[in-house]
Symmetry: C2
């Protein structure tokens, strides 16, 4: 039985290394392609591969014989993961699905790419046999009793234990947990869902005994997975009215309207276990003509990598599901070189289309003249290594400035554990360094281009950009439930570094963004440190169309240098206005903000609301 | 500040290697000794250490700056663990506490010893600041309403969430879970606790929907941690009557009597996270003058190691706690060379004093003439690698025989994941090999000596011996709640290999064992495969004293060759008899069993009950 046929690659080198092979898999391995693929990749050091091709068709992948490796994955659960494609320390490898559909079963990471160079994945669709979320159609509700009834289809098996519903999948289960409403007519997030969701699953328990007796010597992260359930109990109760029909009691917000679909994905911290692509410490990754229909986490999470190109790389739901990926479509942490997203569609994922940022780490020990002990601030950044030898580190004291007060270079990083590392610098530490100061890697930011992409129907934002290098956002379409573009400094909880500069936003269409119900700008700048320091510089917003149902378009804060020109603002009338009193533009703690040649056809009673930092600014 | 003073070791070699140092830590690091110890050990490759000494005193160890490493640990939870003593690939290293007490905080493994040679740990006591179990004094009960009330002292903080009690510790929490009664007067397991415990915390849920829709392609372990809660809900409910006083509703067995202490350690599969010593792939480990007062798991778990000597290595509770370690005092899997336990006290641990066995793995794929794919059968043996190149593997088909039908040698083992490995043999596989056959490593059994040890007051057994080499159990004292000695083949669920042979049991005192309430022999042979095949050979039980409150002394099955002579059996009168009709000795499916010169002063109405395999045997 011929499972694998082998061709000699014409692209391989002719030196003493063994010739690289093109490996072709046929549909004979389709029932579980994992063992054959793993086996061949594990031999690649002795029998190098230039390309792995799949005969066009549908292939299943199970974890039972998948390759395992422990991974700390930014913004995902950490642990021993399982993959059919262990692309570890490989060079110049192409995986070509030739139009195939790969169907994954259970907790498995389709593509695990680490420490590699020039990896291409193309012409493949990725889906899961059973999803990591579940969907329920709201078929009845009772406003007085504060209950609603959900119809659960047979594709979402469940059990109920002591009033709590668990959705059971192959190799996985989840509770109701994080949830949001979809409108099946629009196949997108329901208008004004914020009023109804997330379902309020938790409340404080009144019965605790002597918890104060527990005193921690070091900083303790109450929000970490193992800790956050202390003193918290379940407030909603699931009752089965008949098989497949569930009544939910105890929800505190407004009761979801009939006809909506509630997507449920289980508890935060436990519900991101299987991103489609995990790329780390890799130089050169291309994803071309790839469609990710689902993942139990992000479409792609890239960390500490360089030169990443996604072209016609899409996140789109399948099988009648409202949801595509259960977290961000794409996410980049501490990446450098170029990040290019072109011709992509990112739809129906349960978090942002992209989030691009660095990492702050906190100085907790000054060990000697050259060495600091640093702590990973957020539990989903555990084990993140901030840079390489000779990278420029900035020392940041956010109470004084968003910009570093001192620059030093890395000599060495000693990994102790997922929360603690010891960094040795090439230069002496400044005398005024203090515990509590942050570090950021000034070299680990990218040149970003997002072009010709279609983003919408998803929960949360379009693009989050925390990038002090150059960012071009051009000719995209946004229809997001929260901000289309959020430009933040997220220091206090998320420890996501990068105070944006040199951002060009042009030629985009913003269609009915913020329809989830928050009173925020379609484009919003934000720092979570409460001060007037400048965080953002040199921003250009030109030639965009804002076709919005509500007023607030642009929210600027802590910015020096922003031009908003030749934009057209109209009112779409798609939804009723939620905040008719809001202005079109809000400005705080900023300078050098200019408006030129814009067209306004919206409904805002005041176009600009500015604080004392720019009292005389006018819209033009 | 002098934290570390350095002496040149007189034992170091004089070749070109750097001279080995004796590192001396003083009490200046006592508040958290972890970072100083970790830092020095991590430098040991460049600055080798012959000995680490601690100034006598009390040292605290926290996980925050501990060294982390992923460990699969047999019969424990698996995961990223944290240690202050990462003894990884070290040679000829002594750690001398010089009489110090080491107090550990949270989930941390005191001594992690892997891939090393000649490691000695001596003169140290190990304790935890907060325990991994909790204790409640039964102060009232209501037999009619089936409730009991527990007084919880301030050292066991808790909260109650939706009727479930969680005991909260530094860095850890547990539910009621697995439990057993202690008698505070005897400071041991309560007489007849089996009637009352474990508290029946779980029952089946009646509400499940379409779970049959989930079909697994490969073998699926329903008992694994992620799976066993499906279709199961909590049946007991905790109600706080006042702070520190808890009423438990819903227990199904007999209601625990007032005055007993209920030890609770949380759910099976989640409650073994911090053994005191983890030793693996190590040749030569000595623990001398060591006392383990507590651990969240075993005192020592050793795997794939060789020549292990525990001398005056004790497990004894402290701080008024009923419980010492929350699992076995000692446990050895797949070890070879010598295992010697002398002058040890193993008391009040929540599982066996020692369990010594190999591992069965199941053949699930016959890949070609030389390669098999094997599956790890039990979820607490995940990732266990069965041997090294050239070890003798036995192929076993238990339905036919407990002994291998074929012997082969290992060429290579390819680790794929924690449940699946591919083993290549040096010899061709036999034609009649079948999926479902087991393998065991015939070389990975030890010479065992257990001598001058005191074992009792603990849950479960004294010694479990599954060892076909030689075992000497001499001059020990046993006072165990279940069997003092269990000689099993545990193939069907535990996959613990080793059909015992050449076991000498002499000069021991068995005092009131099996007081937990099971009608089983003090010494018991058992196979969990239901057949008449011989599993045990050449057993000698001589010159022991059985001072028991009840009748059943010896239970023999599937044995060929056992001599029971010069033993003295008396009735202690310590507890009322539970099974007055039982014989002293039961024999099934055995041959060549001999009784000589024994003295019987017990109360059994019939001394021997034998099946048709030895109908005419008499006690002498």
């Amino acid at each position: 039985m011929l499972l694998v046929s082998i061709l000699v690659s014409i692209s391989c080198s002719s030196n003493t290394l063994p010739e690289k092979e093109i490996v072709e898999f046929t549909l004979e391995i389709a029932k579980d392609a994992t063992p054959a693929v793993v086996s061949r990749i594990l031999q690649a050091d002795k029998k190098p591969i230039s390309e792995i091709r799949f005969e066009k068709g549908t292939y299943h992948f199970y974890p039972d014989k998948g390759y395992e490796k422990f991974c700390y994955i930014s913004n995902h659960g950490d642990g021993m993961v399982n993959t059919p494609f262990p692309i570890l320390n490989k060079e110049n490898l192409t995986i070509d699905g030739q139009g195939s559909l790969f169907i994954f079963h259970g907790v498995i990471i389709p593509f695990l790419i680490e420490g590699s160079t020039n990896i291409n994945v193309k012409n493949v669709s990725i889906d899961w046999y059973q999803s990591f979320h579940s969907e329920g159609l709201i078929v009845a509700n009772n406003i007085e009793n504060k209950t609603f009834d959900m119809e659960i289809s047979k594709e979402y098996p469940y059990d109920i234990r002591n009033g709590e519903i668990f959705f059971i999948k192959e190799y996985y289960q989840h509770t109701l947990g994080q949830s949001i409403l979809f409108d099946p007519k629009r196949k997108g997030i329901s208008f004004n869902t914020e009023k109804y969701t997330s379902i309020t699953t938790k409340s404080k328990t009144s019965t605790t005994f002597n918890l104060d007796n527990i005193v921690y010597k070091y900083e303790y992260d109450k929000r970490d997975v193992g800790n956050k359930n202390i003193g918290v109990e379940r407030r909603v109760r699931a009752e089965e009215l008949k098989p497949g029909l569930i009544r939910v009691h105890g929800h505190k917000k407004k009761i979801p309207p009939v006809g909506n679909i509630l997507s449920m994905k289980g508890e935060q911290g436990l519900n991101r276990v299987a991103p489609a692509f995990r790329v780390t410490h890799t130089k050169g990754f291309k994803g071309t003509n790839v469609t990710i229909h689902h993942a139990g986490g992000m479409g792609i999470i890239a960390e500490n990598s360089e030169d990443l190109l996604l072209d016609n790389f899409n996140v789109i739901p399948s099988q009648g599901r409202m949801v595509s990926t259960t977290a961000d479509a794409t996410h980049f942490v501490g990446c450098r070189g170029k990040i290019i997203l072109t011709n992509c569609t990112f739809q129906n994922q349960l978090d942002d289309a992209s989030n691009i940022h660095g990492s702050y780490q906190k100085i907790v020990d000054v060990l000697d003249d050259y060495r600091i002990g640093v702590r990973m601030g957020h539990h989903q950044q555990k084990a993140f290594v901030i840079g390489r030898p000779n990278d420029n580190l900035g020392l940041v004291r956010l109470s004084n400035s968003f910009f570093p007060y001192k620059q030093l270079t890395i000599k060495d990083i000693e990994y102790i554990n997922n929360r603690y590392q010891i960094i040795t610098l090439n230069e002496k530490l400044p005398n005024d360094i203090k515990k509590g100061d942050l570090i950021e890697n000034l070299d680990a930011y990218p040149e970003v281009i997002v072009k010709n992409c279609k983003i919408g129907n998803n929960r949360a934002r379009g693009l989050l950009i925390s990038n002090p290098k150059n960012t071009l956002i051009e000719n995209n379409f946004f229809n997001t439930e929260m901000e289309a573009l959020l430009i933040p400094v997220e220091s206090s909880h998320w420890y996501e570094s990068g105070n944006a500069a040199n951002v060009v936003i042009r030629g985009n269409t913003f269609q009915d963004c913020q329809h989830g119900g928050k009173n925020r700008g379609v484009i919003r700048f934000n720092t979570d440190d409460d001060n007037k320091n400048i965080a953002f510089k040199n921003i250009e917003i030109t030639n965009n169309i804002f076709n919005q149902f509500d007023n607030l378009i642009l929210q600027v804060t802590n910015t020096n240098g922003l031009v908003f020109k030749e934009n057209t603002i109209t009112n779409s009338g798609t939804f009723p206005q939620l905040y008719p009193e809001s202005p079109a533009i809000k400005i705080e703690d900023s300078k050098n903000i200019k408006f030129e040649n814009n067209t306004y056809k919206g409904k805002a009673p005041n176009l600009i609301e500015a604080d004392e930092s720019m009292p005389d600014i006018t819209f033009q």
